[in-house]
Symmetry: C2
């Protein structure tokens, strides 16, 4: 048996016949063609703690929902590199809605309408890579106001309004590349959204200093949740990975890999340890207030402080190599850094952080436990009974372990902290429990977001679904109850009780979402709720129309070849669920207009002739007949 406190590990035995097929597969996969970058001897595989299949246990939840029954939880799901956010119902695991964020969506016209282009800052990017959706909180509890999500691909943070369930702000984070870890300040309320930029780059990144690799750095950013402006950035050592915040409002903390500051894989594996960096929010705010900051070229309004080793604004806690997930327990006292290349989790005692910053403790003194849970621990979720649930990427398992017992074991007591290991299918990354990142953790459900799904679903070609598995944790024993195939790539999720979310059923006519368009109409002397008018302004034409099922306010309008045409539609229907669309054939023009919404889209009328437009959101028995002609006169 390996010393649980020792992050250095022995060799994996990829062909151990006692391990299940998928575990051996995982190990082979991880090890590649025999070149072991790291490894560990068989740790707790088989034996009574591994339940395959899970036995029935007392006190379990009801799983199946009959038609018409509502789910108990909103699941907000990252859509990964699809660039979207998804809402799933839990426990049914049905996709209830997609929210376009960093993607192009032709159903709603996301990326096409003027309103969405404004949110997207008129950028030409057609891509995004979402990872971590998190809801705004007040006093450590979800407040149902916003969901925030990062874009690693293009270094952005977006905000979704939970009343209309649309993205309403996107901020490009300056000075950095690849926003990865993202969490919110929990207490006293979500003033900041914390965003980790992963990659170290030269500063300025203008083609100079590209060989001075030791001068590269990356930064931790705090985004103001209301204004969505970057409040401050903190220079750090290493590559930032995941982050979380505490329940006092004083600290955020991030895992970092590549303490070496290397630019290649081998170079970033040289040292024995990487670190968790703790950010002292109060001190950072005070430093900025005192003017102790710099700004970087191209972002004059963003204060940057230096939080590299030795700064009083941060503390660096050494942990085993390449730590990954960072998760605060709902008790508010502990936070867990997950070992990834080490089979351990490191438990930090947040109550000791004040003393650490005051110089009364050494960094490793805040480690309450560092215990072995299995191979490839990536993320940890929590119930309301003192248990933690850690995904083991390489073992393809969830390890349920008891936090207090782990601390006792680390202190040398002879106590078993591992409660159960459950096979998942396969390669789990993030996991999440119902309400588990808040004070309201309720210990009912656990989601394991598995990266691979080989043999779990009907084959659909070389590309496979991910597998988001639903696990009942309400009883003494974890029980796998549902395999949920999902498209590329639900990176993370969070599960919010339905009592916390109060979406609107109709748009309101004064919604700021289309305020700019309403202002334009006002300038044009148009009453959106009534007028059907064409306004010409040089070679710019604005077509204002209403819609009431099954007809637009105009069944034709005329423009000239070469005109820039803006169509503004106001949906006068007041019945819930009666959404209209607007599509111009062969023009790449499509959008959604919800009940009582105004939406607009601008395009060039380049081809003379008759071009039909139609409603593309089924609205009425005469929906197909809801159409009209754009007549483009020859120039």
């Amino acid at each position: 048996m390996i010393d649980p406190k020792d992050p250095k590990l022995g060799d994996i035995q990829p062909d151990d016949e006692n391990a299940s097929e998928h575990v051996r597969f995982s190990r082979r996969l991880f090890l590649g063609s025999g070149a072991a970058l790291m490894g560990a001897a068989g740790m707790g595989l088989g034996g009574s703690l591994v339940s395959t299949p899970a036995k029935a246990a007392e006190g379990h939840n009801a799983v199946a929902l009959a038609p018409g029954e509502l789910d108990e939880y909103y699941g907000f799901w990252s859509g990964g590199h699809s660039g979207e956010v998804r809402i799933l119902g839990v426990p049914s695991m049905r996709e209830l809605m997609r929210i376009p964020v960093f993607n192009i969506d032709s159903a709603t016209g996301w990326g096409l309408t003027n309103e969405s282009k404004e949110v997207l800052n008129h950028k030409p990017w057609l891509t995004g890579d979402c990872h971590h959706p998190h809801m705004s909180m007040t006093d450590g509890k979800y407040d149902g106001k916003y969901v925030f999500i990062n874009d690693k691909a293009n270094s952005r943070v977006a905000r979704i309004r939970c009343d209309i369930m649309k993205t309403d702000k996107i901020t490009e984070i300056p000075n950095v590349q690849a926003i990865h870890g993202l969490r919110v300040q929990k207490v006293p309320y979500t003033k900041y959204v914390f965003a980790n930029a992963e990659y170290r780059i030269p500063h300025p990144n203008d083609g100079t200093g590209m060989d001075a690799i030791d001068k590269y750095y990356t930064m931790f950013s705090a985004v103001d949740a209301e204004s969505m402006k970057v409040a401050f950035q903190v220079i750090v050592d290493g590559n930032l990975d995941n982050t979380d915040a505490d329940y006092s409002g004083k600290y955020a903390f991030s895992t970092c890999y590549n303490t070496e500051g290397a630019v290649d894989l081998a170079g970033s594996m040289r040292l024995e340890r990487d670190h968790v960096v703790i950010f002292n929010i109060e001190r950072i705010e005070a430093a900025i207030k005192a003017g102790n900051y710099q700004t970087l070229p191209g972002a004059d309004d963003v204060p940057v402080v230096d939080g590299r080793t030795g700064s009083e604004l941060t503390a660096y806690v050494p942990v085993p190599k390449n730590p990954h997930g960072m998760n605060t327990a709902p008790d508010g006292r502990y936070a867990v850094a997950n070992g990834k290349l080490s089979p351990t989790v490191t438990v930090l005692d947040i109550q000791k952080f004040d003393d650490l910053f005051d110089g009364k403790l050494q960094p490793r003194d805040v480690v309450a436990a560092e215990v072995e849970v299995g191979l490839g621990p990536l993320h940890t979720a929590f119930d309301n009974r003192g248990n933690a649930y850690t995904t083991l990427f390489i073992d393809s398992q969830i390890c349920k372990w008891n936090l207090e017992n782990a601390i006792k074991a680390y202190q040398g007591e002879q106590v078993e902290y591992i409660v159960q290991k459950l096979d998942v299918h396969y390669q789990p990354g993030h996991n999440h429990t119902t309400m588990g990142e808040t004070r309201d953790a309720d210990g009912k459900w656990l989601i394991s977001l598995c990266k691979f799904s080989k043999d779990r679903f009907l084959p659909c070609g070389p590309l496979h679904a991910e597998n988001d598995q639903l696990i009942d944790i309400s009883g003494d024993e974890m029980k796998l109850v549902h395999d949920g195939p999902t498209y590329a790539e639900p990176h993370d999720c969070m599960l919010v009780h339905r009592s916390k979310v109060k979406p609107a059923k109709l748009w309101t006519r004064d919604d700021p979402y289309f305020a700019k368009t309403a202002e334009m109409a006002k300038q044009d002397g148009v009453t959106l709720e009534k007028d059907n008018k064409v306004i010409r302004d040089g070679n710019k034409v604005r077509v204002y129309m209403t819609s009431v099922a099954p007809a637009y306010g105009m069944d034709r309008f005329t423009v000239k070849q070469g005109d820039e045409v803006t169509v503004v539609i106001t949906n006068l229907d007041q019945i819930e669920d009666v959404t209209h669309g607007f599509c111009v054939v062969n023009h790449g023009v499509q959008m959604e207009i919800g009940p009582q919404q105004t939406a607009s889209i601008t395009f060039k009328a380049e081809q003379p002739g008759v071009h039909w437009y139609y409603c593309n959101w089924f609205c009425h028995a005469l929906h197909m007949e809801m159409r009209g002609r754009m007549i483009v006169e020859k120039a």
Copy 2:
């Protein structure tokens, strides 16, 4: 009681207290603010035939799938105006895969990679509006080779290869606007894909003749399923709606509305009847072979024949106003036109079509039945026991009726043809039975694609999910077993037994999908499976890389500011499910590279400096460390 043969109807009573809430809601919705465009007195509402809720019945299917159990059917789902196709497992109703078609997808790089841009014909459109997915057939049975799908928004037809489950061809249909109805030739095999263009336009549509509305026309197109070239087009009267083909290979038939040739709603409601147009495929082929066709400007290679009233190539069968769905029964003898604005379905006897075309019969002589089923019949599906299942949009019901009994009733016999009515939730459009559009109809499951879902799911803002409901039809009585929320807007689907589909698990190195890229590599003297090289060609730079988890073949490459960079990646991993990605931060560059696949993407390197690229498809425990630097030197 209304005469079932009379398509003229009385008034709806929208506030009939005997009707269920959603039926009254539907009717109010349909009628708008009191102006009745059409109507019908309460037809069979309530009474013993309406089962709410459905009673338990004998012989039903098992519904729930335990984790790891596979579905029995592939459901190919239209993604509507999302522009994609989805694969759902049935009966679990889980989304197993998304197939990008007419959309932009940043996960796979669809619309971004060179290979996908080639398929998309290098068009700038970011939109699509899919309706009708249909699989290729041999002898009236699915052959598992292709799935075809239309794009109404931009008048296209696409083909999906069912081995790799990727779109491999997209054809823009010339001379027309808005491809709507789409089906395949069933017998002897799918030589043609039949595609209805909906809107009448001037010809040529160049800004002349825009006021000569009576000269507008639209066309029926046949696309060669292998070459994906348009084989012929047929000019018709009216607006083409849906289509289907027979089981002899001789005929296709389409519903048409707007026989009046009007351009406004009122104008298209003037006459008593619209029509079904029957296409005589043999005669059309013979006419073209004999040179009896024209071509239209801009599409010299597409033969166009005139099939308007009076042509010997077509026959026009008058049916009640605004017919919608067109569905051939698996017995091969009958096809059904669904009434939409009439509460009737019209059953056509295909065996009489030869005599109709030979002048031995009048058009209405081929009508075997025209019977009442309920309000707003849109589409009909079939089991293998002689029953038909018609969606009633306004009643929000499925009407199960017996085909033979309907014919007897139409002939005057006192026989009940309606078997059961089942409430669905709400406003069903298309429906589909397992294998029901083929000779293999098996009568096990029915999907009802409901347009509205008010109150059926947790609210997610003004936009609502659709509701694709699963109905067990294996017993004597239909039984609603699952509510399936779906994103905008599954217009139609088809359900294929898993025995018919054999997808590939890995790519093969000689796949034509990336043949053009392989040819480019050959010209550059590069062996894709081995080389990691940068080839400069003026200001064009081609970067060839391999990938093996967890590393690219190069952890950096250097280009100059202003270069056009093409990155070509070959994924050497041979393990099923190990897909890699390639993403360049802040460049809008992302793509999928499946195991053994080659993929490429081209972009401008405009910003000097260090720009990280990374793997965005989770592949390995060191996935996050799979990254490298694009070094852009100052120009």
